[in-house]
Symmetry: C2
Subunit: 126 residues, 2 copies
Amino acid sequence: MTLRLDTLTFDCADVMHVARFWTDALGWELDPESEPDGALVRDPSGRSDGLYFQPVPESKVAKNRLHLDLRPSGSMAAEVERLEGLGATVVRRVDEEGSFWTVMQDPEGNELCVLRGPEDGWSPEG
Amino acid sequence: MTLRLDTLTFDCADVMHVARFWTDALGWELDPESEPDGALVRDPSGRSDGLYFQPVPESKVAKNRLHLDLRPSGSMAAEVERLEGLGATVVRRVDEEGSFWTVMQDPEGNELCVLRGPEDGWSPEG
């Protein structure tokens, strides 16, 4: 292996607005050394790669071609409601092939999906 | 924590074309059970979350607002050349604040950055 994933970087109009949303959404931590040019948000468990938020002059004009899928520890509905309280919006709920998930956008419109949790009949074994 | 990262999902015109690029770029493995509707690519070391590739009808019309940053185990130049051989293209090289990196696009135009490696003077301690 000659390349490894380092960070996933978000283009932002308001870096701290988006960074705080993802910090609260995932229960991760803002690296205090990363401001003010950009914000680095780390998974305190070390399980996932970090997220980096950088300022860009242009605004979002189309659906992103990649997005994060998020797995609830409880139910999808509870997490969707919690993310709405943090500033995300629901785009649509999808029911497909015996599964379902909720498409949302973060406060700057970046798409994300909230998947089913254990309380929705999902199990790690499929 | 009530949400965890599950997968990072790419919208694709040609699922297997994009999935094979990322499999080769990262040295990851295609999950044989994930075809034909979508392709799941996993990090065999378990260090990173998986990538999922799904078909969508629309094509890419603007720069994605999020992208992956990739860290070479050797040098940036060698990895940029290797990724070009896999079908990626160079968008530009950026030199900024004592650092540098190369902005590229995967075979369907998804932006990615190849960072400096140990042979470029980078070290994990900064």
